[in-house]
């Protein structure tokens, strides 16, 4: 199960849903705040957080979520062709092309 933080809009949400579904992950369609995401992760209701890179201080927020909940966080937007992946489990974040193959690799890490 993945959870969104930020506003990807209707088209973006449908696109993310398709991308995640191709990797066997369902998407919680309602977007949530950073705090809600942490609560859902802590309750075992989310394995991955997808965070909108247009949010202020997006990378800092992603780092905080990863540190607090030890969960994978993918930072991306509808404008970029790259994503920043925070793999969790103490691993350093990295940047990758936003495509299904790289996304699959990012989702497999730490699984």
């Amino acid at each position: 199960m993945a959870v969104l933080v930020g506003n990807f809009g209707a088209i973006g949400t449908v696109g993310l849903e398709a991308m995640l579904k191709s990797q066997g992950l369902d998407l919680q369609t309602s977007t949530v705040t950073e705090e809600d995401a942490l609560a859902r992760v802590s309750a075992g209701k989310a394995e991955v957080v997808v965070l909108d890179s247009r949010l202020p201080h997006a990378l800092e927020k992603a780092a905080r979520i990863t540190a607090d909940a030890d969960v994978r966080v993918i930072v991306c937007s509808l404008d970029d062709t790259t994503m920043v992946v925070f793999p969790g489990q103490g691993a350093a974040p990295y940047e990758a092309t936003l495509d299904p193959t790289r996304l699959a690799a990012a989702l497999r890490e730490g699984a």
Binding site: G9, I11, V14, L78, T82
Partner: protein, 182 residues
């Protein structure tokens, strides 16, 4: 009547979203979906097989498609009177209904009144780069300060220029200052 649609958008999420939204309705048939703008014979073939193209701002600059185009852009783009662009829609916040209406309009030759787009706030990463450019920082210096590769910084600067319709870094900084982005 089924409207055949070609989708060209470099952003995987947005492209998949457009395809899924259009394929969900019997009115539309997505004939091709690509990250790269077709040129030459490929553009001719795609144009021949499509009634409408749904494309990104980058793709509309690079492609040689000659079918009616619906552009999904993050920022306003200039549309000449004789352009093949029939609608400009905002990427962020766009609904499936708005997209469908614009594609249907373009298919029958109607120029949908163009969205008045407000310049969207750039993400924090781009704003940081713009601020550093305004301070006179080089690509190498920005790369070291923000912990991204120089290649990434160059790509982000190019995307900032595209979003602000600026030919140079200096013009992008000037536009950002005038628009109170930084």
């Amino acid at each position: 009547m089924t409207i055949r649609v070609a989708v060209v958008d470099e952003n995987e999420i947005f492209r998949l979203g457009v395809v899924a939204c259009l394929d969900d309705k019997a009115t539309f048939h997505v004939t091709s979906a690509s990250a790269h703008a077709p040129t030459g014979p490929e553009a001719a073939a795609v144009s021949q097989g499509s009634d409408v193209g749904v494309v990104s701002a980058k793709a509309v600059r690079e492609s040689e498609l000659h079918c009616p185009l619906v552009v999904c852009a993050s920022a306003p783009i200039a549309v000449p009177d004789n352009s093949r662009i029939f609608a400009v829609l905002p990427r962020n916040g766009l609904t499936a209904e708005q997209l469908g209406a614009a594609v249907q309009g373009a298919a029958v030759g109607l120029k949908v009144s163009l969205h008045e787009l407000e310049l969207p706030p750039l993400d924090e990463r781009r704003l940081s780069i713009l601020r550093l450019l305004a301070d006179g920082a080089t690509t190498e210096e920005i790369s070291e300060l923000l912990h991204y590769s120089q290649r990434t910084i160059k790509g982000l600067v190019a995307s900032i220029q595209a979003e602000l319709d600026a030919r140079t870094r200096a013009q992008a900084v000037a536009t950002a200052i005038r628009g109170e982005l930084i």
